[in-house]
């Protein structure tokens, strides 16, 4: 049964998503169903990760006689759709399933009074399917399909509060952006298909010749994925979408953004990296985009009044750190001495920041959702003195804020430390920008803390109580993860992150389907 895990991890949430509409008008039941399904998927993803870490790359060929039959006898090219799970994909799968579980748990009370819940949970599970498909697939066209699934269900979730005009506005913006981005992805996939006659990622990567058409395809793929992961100056959809989605949908949407970041890494490292040609240009583009993203994101965050919008700008700014870290690795990928000196650590730092950021930003966005739940507003000007009324939310917020600002001993510190030191090796100016960004991050969270939680208790919030238990549990899980990841960074790095970074560096192993051909 273990070899079927890559199929099951897609099939189980699909089953949940399609069965959810059958629970019409049973709101409690459909919430519990979604929590159950996401929980099972989380367990499956943990098993999958263990398999991958023990056995190396896991290949699953759909519709074949046996799961690992990439090239049936007589075939020189792979022809079936296949999933190729390496340590990086498994790492992203853990993030996706964990965040979907937490999001479903949080949604149990956060959206309890809205109508159309069966559709909400159906979309949430479909979003999870889209993310998982994107990060596990080994086929370019499948990447497009799952990207569209994630985009459509994400946009529908953004516009879920259909009685708000702003939600529809944000929804259509996100939808048009993702439709255009994925059409350009499809266009470049078609360019590659026309040239090499195959859609398998590893096969194309093995045969790629770096002609002008290939590089045009690379440019389109790069820009499309950069837009969908919110790199400046194509970040404008991020604050709109993150602000309007119900807070329970925020963690999966965040992971959906980083699934696109994963696709960007996969395309730059695996598809367009060959032993013959050195394109460290792509690495420099990534580094420059990263620096722009983190600096502009954080300065815009500083002036926001809407609490969720402020945090969404921080999400943009933190994406910059990941682009910087992995971009530093990409620039020195073909220079073995530098790669061993700091390149591998830079990639590990960037990837470690992905999971750290997913954890603490989901936590922060969920505390913002809790503030919205009790006050009915997102405007920081109208809040104040809530610390006494909501102690657990306050503590969760403090942990999250400390983690995002890179205060030890929380998890943000470890990954930021690695990124600072490695980017210093490439160019000291990059580190200066990164540190200034970190300081401004702390400044803007002090602003949120001071205006929402501190200050004299306001009269209109006299009867405010702590949010319901499922929301608290979801927040406590993430806060605990923040502390654990911060206290034992070495263990997490060795068990999860360095294998993922090595999966990016050892692209030759991916090209041969884990040694199957």
């Amino acid at each position: 049964m273990m070899e079927h895990l890559p199929a099951l991890i897609i099939a189980i949430p699909l089953l949940g998503a399609f069965a959810a509409p059958l629970f019409k008008r049973h709101h409690k039941a459909v919430s519990i169903w979604a929590i159950l399904i996401t929980g099972i998927t989380l367990i499956v993803s943990l098993l999958l990760t263990r398999e991958v870490l023990v056995k190396g790359i896991l290949v699953y060929v759909f519709g074949a006689k046996s799961p690992t039959l990439v090239l049936p006898s007589g075939y020189k090219v792979p022809i079936r759709i296949m999933f190729e799970v390496d340590a990086l994909g498994a790492f992203m799968a853990i993030s996706a399933t964990l965040m979907s579980f937490v999001g479903a748990l949080y949604s149990y009370s956060h959206v309890a009074h809205e109508s159309g819940l069966e559709k909400y949970y159906s979309l949430l599970l479909l979003l999870e399917v889209g993310i998982l498909g994107m990060v596990l697939t080994g086929d370019l066209f499948n990447l497009f399909v799952f990207m569209e699934i994630a985009g459509i269900s994400g946009a529908a979730l953004v516009g879920f509060r259909s009685y708000r005009g702003e939600a529809s506005e944000a929804g259509i913006k996100y939808l048009i952006i993702s439709a255009v981005a994925s059409l350009m992805v499809l266009f470049s996939v078609a360019l590659l298909y026309g040239e090499y006659g195959n859609l398998n990622l590893a096969y194309i990567a093995k045969n790629i010749k770096f002609g002008v058409v290939d590089l045009i395809a690379f440019g389109l793929l790069f820009t499309s994925f950069a837009m969908k992961c919110g790199a400046v100056p194509m970040h404008y959809w991020v604050p709109d979408a993150y602000t309007e989605i119900p807070a329970g949908g925020n963690p999966p949407l965040l992971v959906a953004t980083y699934a696109n970041l994963y696709a960007l890494f996969r395309v730059s490292f695996t598809l367009f990296t060959n032993i013959v040609i050195n394109i460290s240009r792509a690495g420099w583009i990534m580094v420059i985009l990263g620096v722009l993203t983190m600096f502009i994101g954080v300065t815009m965050a500083l002036v926001q009044k809407d609490v969720k919008r402020l945090m969404s700008y921080h999400a943009i700014s933190q994406t910059g750190y990941m682009l910087l870290g992995v971009g530093v690795g990409l620039t020195v990928l073909h220079d073995p001495s530098k790669l061993m000196e700091f390149g591998r650590d830079a990639i590990a730092g960037g990837l470690f920041h992905v999971i750290n950021h997913i954890i603490y930003k989901s936590l922060l966005l969920m505390t913002a959702g809790a503030l919205f739940y009790v006050t009915g507003t997102r405007n920081l000007d109208n809040m104040g003195g809530l610390a006494r009324k909501m102690p657990i939310t306050t503590i969760s917020f403090m942990i999250g804020a400390a983690a995002i600002s890179g205060l030890p001993p929380f998890n943000g510190f470890a990954s930021k430390l690695i990124i600072y030191e490695t980017s210093y090796m490439l160019n000291p100016i990059l580190t200066v920008f990164a540190m200034v960004t970190s300081i401004l991050t702390l400044a803007s969270f002090v602003k949120v803390f001071a205006s929402a939680f501190l200050g004299p208790p306001l009269k209109k919030y006299e009867n405010v109580k702590e949010v319901p238990k499922p929301m608290l549990i979801a927040m406590i899980i993430l806060a605990a993860l923040c502390v654990i990841f911060g206290l034992f960074p070495k263990i997490i790095l060795d068990k999860l992150i360095y294998p993922a970074a090595d999966a990016l560096i050892n692209y030759l192993q991916y090209h041969s389907w884990g040694g199957l051909a």
Binding site: L14, A19, F62, K65
Partner: protein, 154 residues
């Protein structure tokens, strides 16, 4: 915006369109077509019904039809056939191809007009996809119609 002409033509055309849609679904593994195309044709027949009649009449017609349940059944059936393949081979494996199951004789390979049961699991996948697509597209048209017509009337 409905006239006697539209209503009469709808009465004549709709059964033909629905039959054609079903044909495309059921014959999808042999000729061009399949679940999605047939479902879309079927749904366009139903869409003709929706736009030809008044809001009240449409509501009466579609009140008893559980479209979202059809959609779920279609998707779950597709997934179920996919999961059946996992028992012996892999997910979505065509596990009864070339065996003739469940209707007896296997078909010879090559060009052979007249044999219907040659697709293994494909016809069943087509039927489920067709069910899902016709329910999904019809409910899209229906919902947009109900929203827009409500504004016209009020």
């Amino acid at each position: 915006m409905t006239t006697v002409i539209i209503r009469t033509m709808t009465r004549i055309l709709t059964p033909a369109i629905l039959v054609f849609g079903s044909y495309i679904i059921l014959h999808g593994h042999l000729t061009p077509g399949g679940g999605f195309q047939g479902g879309a044709v079927f749904a366009s027949g139903l869409a003709l019904l929706i736009i030809a009649f008044s809001r009240k009449r449409v509501k009466e017609m579609f009140e008893k039809v559980p479209l979202s349940v059809f959609e779920s059944i279609g998707a779950l059936g597709f997934l179920g056939i996919g999961l059946m393949g996992i028992v012996m081979y892999t997910f979505l494996r065509n596990f009864i191809a070339n065996s003739g199951a469940p209707f007896g004789m296997p078909t010879p390979e090559g060009i052979n007009p007249g044999f219907l049961n040659t697709g293994g699991t494909l016809p069943y996948l087509n039927i489920f996809v067709g069910l899902k697509v016709l329910a999904g597209l019809t409910s899209i048209v229906l919902i947009l119609f109900l929203i827009l017509r409500r504004e016209e009337n009020e």
